[in-house]
């Protein structure tokens, strides 16, 4: 009832392309999209990133040794696609330098008690985090990857995962503080239309 033509076309194409590996890998699409969106906050770019990731996963499927690590493996591929994309943006030479430079100019989120506003506020706050922190935070919080897995995916030491996570959450708390300081506002966050 709710498949838009574009999506069903795309999944038909990927069905054709991907043969029998697909059920498991296609099932990752929503998960990948969520992460991609949390990284770039741009729906079209996130879509491209996921598409790119899925087709690379398909061509490299022989490299996957352990079916159990499929999810982390696919996310690793997406991380590389993302790095490629960042590198291709002319103004960034060294991705490590992105740490501080990639903050968006989004307004600081204000105290809010409406669910949609909270969502927008959190997204704005996350988009202000440096990329390294944003990636760690989203992998841990959205997909509950373990620290060791995140370290492998991003190819950084576990200690870095922990410190980035800690810094990310501290800044998030700072950015969202007005919203979190009001206990009275909390129940309202849960309201559903």
């Amino acid at each position: 009832m709710d498949h838009c033509p574009r999506l069903s076309n795309m999944s038909m194409i990927s069905q054709l392309l991907f043969g029998p590996f697909r059920p498991s890998i296609e099932a990752m699409r929503p998960m990948l999209y969520r992460i991609a969106y949390a990284w770039c906050h741009d729906a079209a770019l996130a879509d491209d990133l996921v598409q790119d990731t899925l087709s690379k996963a398909w061509t490299r499927r022989a490299q996957l040794r352990d079916e159990g690590s499929l999810k982390a493996w696919v996310v690793t591929i997406m991380h590389h696609c993302w790095l490629d994309h960042l590198r291709s943006r002319r103004d960034f030479e060294d991705v490590d330098d992105l740490q501080d430079s990639l903050e968006s100019g989004a307004q600081s989120p204000e105290a809010c008690c409406d669910r949609e506003q909270v969502i927008a506020g959190v997204r704005a706050a996350v988009s202000r985090l440096p990329m390294g922190q944003r990636q760690v935070l989203t992998l841990v919080d959205l997909e509950e990857f373990g620290y060791a897995e995140v370290a492998r995916i991003l190819d950084i030491p576990v200690g870095t995962v922990m410190s980035r996570l800690s810094r990310a959450r501290t800044s998030l708390k700072g950015l969202l503080d007005p919203a979190m300081q009001q206990p009275a506002a909390r129940p309202a966050l849960r309201r559903v239309k």
Binding site: A43, L137, R169, K173, A188, L189
Partner: protein
């Protein structure tokens, strides 16, 4: 150990990265240290906010115009589905007596039918929904809660459990009405991650009927029970109607 616990350790704790021993120590300390408990709660709610923020990422350009309405319809459909599942589950189980509940401990929820939007029901985030003042149902809710929490503690899992009450189930959380107030206070003291949530709409209705509704101090009020349940489900919680 009276040292201040570092943020990194707390993060590792809420992310389930500590080993059983360390978690237990921390849980024990949280029982006495309100400040620490508060820090953990703040972290958890931050984590929940992040999850909520990306539960439904916007779809890309081509379908934007239709999306909001569709999402709204989906959400309504989801709400209805959950309601139907809850109601029919409750109806089907209406004859089940608590002894039948005792022996079973399927992944999470005894013999109750659980609802979860994730592929595998999360045993560490569970809400129990009570909407009746029948003594055996109240009893069953508390027994079930205690069983789940004890089990989690034995296995060293950091479990979050919420008991959500609406309709006549709210009697469980009313000061002066609840037959289990003392036991509930004990449970709250023992389990830092146990929350009692009452439906404000029900309270308003009772108040409108001329009853004075006073909640036990351990209880917090949510705008509506159904809203609470749907949000929690979207955050990946497992729902059980007692």
């Amino acid at each position: 150990m009276n040292r201040v616990i570092s943020d990194e350790i707390l993060h590792a704790f809420v992310d389930g990265e500590l080993d059983v021993d360390e978690s237990e120590k921390l849980v024990a300390r949280m029982r006495e240290d309100a400040e620490l408990k508060h820090r953990v709660c703040a972290l958890r709610s931050l984590q929940n906010m992040v999850r909520l923020a990306y539960a439904e990422p916007p779809v890309s350009a081509g379908e934007k115009s239709l999306a909001p309405r569709r999402q709204f319809m989906q959400r309504c459909a989801l709400g209805c589905l959950i309601l139907v599942a809850g109601l029919s589950g409750g109806w089907a189980l209406r004859g089940v007596e608590s002894p039948a509940v005792a022996g079973v401990s399927a992944p999470v929820v005894g013999s109750y039918q659980a609802v979860s939007l994730t592929r595998e029901a999360d045993p560490n985030r569970v809400m129990l929904h009570l909407d009746s003042a029948a003594p055996e149902r109240m009893q069953a809710a508390l027994d079930q809660a205690e069983r789940l929490l004890d089990e989690a503690e034995r296995e060293g899992r950091a479990m979050q459990l919420e008991i959500v009450a609406n309709s006549h189930g709210i009697d469980l959380m009313r000061a002066g009405v609840s037959p289990h107030a003392a036991r509930m206070a004990r449970m709250s003291q023992r389990h830092a991650n146990l929350q009692w949530v009452a439906c404000s709409q029900t309270i308003a209705r009772f108040t409108g009927e001329g009853q004075k509704v006073e909640l036990l101090p351990i209880t917090r009020a949510a705008p509506t029970a159904i809203g609470e349940i749907v949000s929690r489900l979207q955050q990946g919680w497992t729902y059980v109607r007692v």
